[in-house]
Subunit: 192 residues, 2 copies
DNA sequence: CAAGTAAACTAACAACTGTTAGTTTTTTTA
DNA sequence: TAAAAAAACTAACAGTTGTTAGTTTACTTG
């Protein structure tokens, strides 16, 4: 791991501000002030406000894509794959509590990289859909509407960024495990 | 039901734009242009940009609060209450596909009404938490971490606005029922 | 310690922001 | 059809926006 550059600090600070008010509502003067400098000085380190957003979002999106690829080709059951996806989201979100807000809410302000982002996202959804469909075919997963199961799981995982910061006494391992239980088994008490 | 005023049209159009780019990125000139008029003309109908956001968010928040109150005091099981909450979200979201985006993402730009909104929201979460806790106590709901169950359900329901527009061939009744199944029973196949 | 580089600064820009004032046009009502 | 009300307009404002140019200060390195 290399040393953190000034650019990295700016991006980290920006992510924090973007989470609070959204990309559009944060001005370069806000960001500069949070960094203890003047707005013009930021441009010694970054090319534009856009570039900051791009750095935050694209690196996260690629991290998810890469993580899911590994899970996809591993030789485990469908349910286990879903459990690994839960871990992936919990881990990335735990380490990027702020950036995840931009990924979820400010992707539409990407300009040149918007199409690339949308491609990564739809591929991600498609791969996860495939994992679920496989599980249904193999009889591991109930034969309910696949879109609804996909949506329900993904909504929960994508919202983790709102919730992990409030409960960060829970370690990632325990959180992943308990979350998997709820997502996979549901909440109703079974009659054993 | 009364006739739709020009103000209502403006708010509806604003909600649509707010969903696409977020409150901060939509200018009064954008809104005016979408309405086929000049920015200044908007002010014959509305007091400020803020007021539009307030109208969108507060009316929705109050609708949820009221809906949950009715469910809370009805004499049904905890699981049934949760199923009613699912219906509540599906119905309100189906009828407010655009406004729900503001409720989820732009509430922090409320000014005078921010505290009121935060109060409604935390009361809502607390009441739902109570429904779950009751269910656990009565043995209807598994004895897992209540916060995780609350978070998982609420994340899914709060994300409906992203998903309903894409699948609106599904009618609200069917969607509510299938979503309840997934949330309550989970996705794994039981050994009958 | 000299030279080079990194990182801050001041000043300014052109475009855009929400909003107001005052006026004209269109629609409704008596 | 005249008067009143509703709804649009033009023009402009004061403040804010992202960004650039040019300069000064601080740190690193040979």
């Amino acid at each position: 791991m290399k040393a953190e550059t000034r650019k990295d600090e700016i991006i980290k600070t920006a992510a924090k501000l973007f989470k609070e008010k959204g990309f559009s509502a944060v001005t370069m003067r806000d960001l500069a002030s949070a960094m203890g400098m003047k707005a013009a000085s930021l441009y010694n380190h970054i090319k534009s406000k856009q570039e900051i957003l791009k750095e935050i979002i694209i690196s996260l999106a690629e991290e998810f894509t890469h993580g899911l690829e590994l899970i996809q080709k591993s030789d485990i059951s469908s349910i286990q794959k879903i459990e690994e996806v839960v871990k992936l989201h919990v881990n990335i979100t735990s380490q990027n509590k702020f950036g995840m807000a931009s990924l979820n809410n400010d992707w539409m302000h990407l300009e040149e990289k918007l199409d690339y982002y949308l491609e990564l996202r739809s591929n991600y959804e498609e791969e996860l859909r495939q994992i679920i469909a496989d599980g249904v075919k193999k009889g591991e997963i109930i034969d309910e509407n696949i879109e609804i199961m996909l949506f329900s799981i993904l909504s929960t995982l994508r919202s983790l960024y709102l919730w992990i910061p409030k409960k960060d006494y829970l370690n990632p391992e325990k959180l992943s495990q308990e979350l998997s239980t709820v997502l996979v088994k549901g909440i109703n008490k079974k009659i054993d």
